[in-house]
């Protein structure tokens, strides 16, 4: 991230689309923060796979938090990202290790006091969303996800090989209708997706 200021990164995330993706790559390639996160996870009973997973989830959560306006700009983006990583690992580790070593976090080993507000998606909810979105065809799913991340219709058309922006726009509308129909036919999803 060193070559970009926090304001530039936040601006790119808010713009969405290819700018967001560019920012995401820049964050991902920030070796300093990555090492910091890895060190934290590895020194708190994690393995490299855990650290990589936490690193990716932290970036994802950072992006979602920024897009939802939950990052208020107090402190650096790197610090915020590190805080997310610590909280994520804290949460995950506690779930994993509750039985094996119940006193570990309670003893204050790495627990984060300055918790940034993060958009946590638990595995159960993520799985439910995967199942729901799995009911629409994969191209439709991609159109809707890209649209939700503010990709322009031009970018969506380019990525998914639609001839024009108009075609992409029409496709997005049809896909959203398809999703609404699935929700209409399966009211149980409404319960699972209550915000």
């Amino acid at each position: 991230m060193a070559q970009y200021s926090d304001a530039q990164i936040i601006g790119a995330i808010m713009s969405g689309g290819s700018e967001l993706e560019h920012a995401m790559r820049a964050i991902y390639r920030d070796e300093d923060t990555r090492k910091q996160v890895f060190r934290f996870v590895l020194s708190h009973k994690g393995v490299r796979e855990d650290a990589e997973d936490i690193w990716q989830d932290s970036i994802r959560n950072l992006i979602l938090s920024v897009r939802e306006g939950k990052y208020r700009g107090s402190g650096t983006l790197n610090g915020y990202l590190y805080g997310i990583a610590r909280n994520l690992w804290y949460k995950r580790f506690r779930t994993m290790q509750r039985e094996a070593d119940p006193g570990y976090w309670e003893n204050g080993a790495g627990a984060d006091v300055d918790s940034p507000e993060i958009v946590l998606m638990d595995k159960e909810r993520e799985e439910a969303v995967r199942q729901l979105l799995g009911k629409i065809d994969s191209k439709c799913r991609k159109v809707l996800e890209m649209w939700k991340l503010s990709y322009s219709m031009k970018e969506i058309a380019g990525e998914l090989n639609y001839k024009t922006e108009g075609v992409a726009r029409k496709k997005k509308r049809l896909c959203l209708k398809q999703l609404l129909e699935i929700l209409d036919e399966n009211p149980i999803w409404m319960e699972r997706l209550k915000p």
């Binding site: 993706e21 995401m24 790559r25 991902y28 390639r29 990589e52 990716q56 989830d57 970036i59 994802r60 959560n61 992006i63 979602l64 958009v119 998606m121 909810r125 993520e126 969303v129 995967r130 729901l132 979105l133 799913r141 991609k142 809707l144 996800e145 890209m146 649209w147 939700k148 991340l149 509308r173 959203l176 209708k177 999703l179 609404l180 129909e181 929700l183 209409d184 999803w189 409404m190 997706l193 209550k194 915000p195």
Partner: protein, 247 residues
Amino acid sequence: MESPEEFDLIENYLEGLLDAPDANAVESRIASDPVFADKVNKHRAAHVALKAGAGIYLKERLQEESEKKPRNGIVWHTWYWAVAAAVTLLAIIIGFRYTKTFYTDEYIAQYYATPYGAGSSRGEVRQDDFWAPGMQAFNAGEYEMAATLLDKIPLKDSHYLEAQLLLGNAYVLSGNYEKAQAPLKLVAESGDSRFVAAAEWYLLLALVGSHEEADAEILAAKLSSEESHPYRKSATKVARNLRSMFR
């Protein structure tokens, strides 16, 4: 399912694209019209799912990134590894073949073969037909010529044994290992302490050059084991070379 106008109205409302009066109107309708409220809730659930879906999309993109992420400045695609492995293998094969040339019998024999210093008789001018010219040819490095001349020195000549040693040495130096064996064996078995050690040494090289490795190893072991043998160290090296993994 709602009409296209209703669809757009709900979407614009959820995305915050309506101005305040229109948004208020939608909220009033939600409060008073349960069917409409139900439609809005479905759209809202779809948005929640898509927001989570966007997170999944980001995670997938990050995983793609992790698969191609260069840790040392180079993106190591699979084919890079294949090329690197092929180059390394080729280098090993070439290196091995190159190194192997240093351990052939001929190479070992030639590497250690040096002209025998013939002591006080070296360069001595004699009146017979073959000794002096044989020595001259030997000293000039013309080993084949030297061998031809030295081979003609008769048994009765007082320098016969020395001539046989030089003859064997000349054969070794000119690569005629098999021919070298007979004169060298003769000198080695003569018991003449002046020439035995040198004859054994050159015989060892002749055996190596003739690919008679079993006999060469026996002789090398014998010379290596003799503390006072002047060629002990060299014989030890030859024995080691004969057992080299590069052969």
